[in-house]
């Protein structure tokens, strides 16, 4: 069983691996080289971004920038969730050169729900199922050409997805 280094060690190791300047060292998505043949690696997980409580802080931690609204990002989410524990959503975009998609639930205890890395050759589309604690705006963010674009939708939740 691999020992997981604790956060400060991990950050230092990422810096030492020569991560590109211009984003938080090692945590800037899309610019960190890692071998393609290895299995899913916990070192890729942006722990700091997943702790943030606002859209701005989560995006800053993840991408080092902020997003502007764009109608070229489509977020499909229900108006009223049948149950906050399993809310199906999907994100698509017609923007060129999409390298990443992030999904945020603004009223959740931590804002960032998921972030996706999209290599060249993969499409700007992702669908998944979220937990929502209560009625909240859901924000889909797309990274294209080094900039961030977003679409927002409010989803009403009557039965919260975080228990209680």
């Amino acid at each position: 069983m691999n020992e997981r280094p604790d956060a400060p060690d991990r950050a230092r190791r990422l810096v030492l691996k020569g991560a590109v300047a211009g984003g938080l060292a090692g945590l800037a998505l899309g610019s960190f080289p890692f071998p393609a043949f290895a299995d899913a690696d916990a070192k890729d997980w942006p722990a700091d971004a997943f702790k943030q409580k606002t859209e701005a802080d989560a995006l800053k931690a993840l991408y080092g920038k902020s997003a502007e609204a764009s109608d070229k990002v489509s977020l499909d989410a229900p108006e009223i969730a049948e149950n906050g524990a399993v809310v199906p959503i999907s994100v698509t975009s017609t923007l060129p050169g999409v390298t990443g998609i992030a999904v945020l639930v603004l009223e959740n205890p931590n804002t960032l729900a998921a972030a996706y890395k999209i290599p060249a050759g993969s499409n700007a589309m992702v669908a998944s199922r979220l937990k929502m604690a209560k009625t909240s705006k859901v924000v889909a963010v797309v990274e294209s050409g080094g900039k961030l674009f977003s679409a927002t939708k409010e989803v009403k939740v009557t039965v919260g997805g975080c228990g209680g």
Partner: protein, 280 residues
């Protein structure tokens, strides 16, 4: 005429006393009246769609359900059920030895009336009878194992029309009638009957849930509920509902529950099995 009056009163939620003699029990007439009520109240719902419960009543919920059905969350329970179904008992026999057609594609025949014992046998009870006949301990009616196994058996019957028989036997007719009476009888602190929600208010909200129509309500069982984060058996749903109306839930597979399942399943004859179902 008397029967129609009784049925009309029952549909209005009035407690039905046993006003009819045994030879007045006419399931076929009840069937026609029951079906007519739902198809007239919901003319836009295709008949087969009633088995989808709240999703036949609400478009927004339906879309979410369809998205999840693409790769349903109960996939793992189904696999577990299949594995359980195929695993031999200690004596080398399997469920296939107990059921017609080796237990595949037979769910729609349950509940059945057992003329030997004079009792209504549900699928879950038949499973435990099979186990006991083969020296195995019964499964707990409320727990995951029973839910997974019945989910698999329901899945092998998906799409098949419900096919419940009431033999011309006064005990079978009496069981059917008792089931009907249970369905329309008010109970619990809230003084609600099954009919209060599922006949008078399908499509409406009770707190945050959209109510399913009684027509076809058994066809989707067992169900995976997002609320439970897992698959739950028929007994789990019935006992939980009784607790929710602040009644005292009966023992799982108590005679009354089996009788009401018999009654409701008969009312759904011809409608497709949609189980295992996913619900909020």
């Amino acid at each position: 005429m008397l029967r129609k009056v009784v049925l009309a009163l029952a549909l209005l939620g009035v407690t039905v006393q046993p006003l009819l003699a045994a030879n007045d029990i006419d399931p076929q007439a009840d069937f026609k009246a029951f079906r007519k009520y739902f198809t007239e109240r919901f003319p836009k719902v295709p008949l087969k769609d009633f088995v989808n419960g709240p999703y036949s009543m609400d478009e927004g919920l339906r879309k979410q359900w369809q998205a999840k059905e693409e790769f349903p969350p109960y996939d793992f329970a189904l696999d577990k059920g299949k594995e359980m179904f195929g695993k031999p008992f200690k004596n080398g026999k399997t469920y296939a030895d107990c059921f017609p057609n080796k237990g595949v594609g037979v769910r729609q025949m349950y509940p059945m009336f057992d003329t030997k014992t004079g009792e209504v046998i549900t699928l879950d009870v038949a499973i435990n009878q099979c186990r006991q006949q083969n020296g195995e301990a019964p499964l707990d009616y409320l727990k995951d194992d029973m839910a997974s196994l019945t989910a698999y058996m329901a899945f092998t019957s998906r799409g098949k029309p419900m096919d419940i028989k009431i033999p011309n036997d006064p005990r079978a007719l009496a069981a059917y009638k008792k089931g009907e009476q249970f369905f329309y009888t008010r109970r619990g602190q809230f003084g609600m009957s099954c009919a209060s929600c599922h006949v008078q208010n399908p499509g409406n909200h009770i707190r945050t849930e959209v109510l399913a129509p009684a027509l076809g309500i058994m066809n989707a069982l067992p169900i995976y509920r997002s609320e439970w984060g897992g698959m739950g058996s028929t007994s789990r749903r019935l006992t939980t509902c009784n607790a929710q109306i602040r009644g005292v839930p009966l023992a799982p597979e108590a005679e009354e529950y089996r009788d009401v399942e018999y009654f409701l399943s008969y009312m759904a004859n011809g409608l497709p099995i949609s189980g295992p179902g996913a619900r909020p």
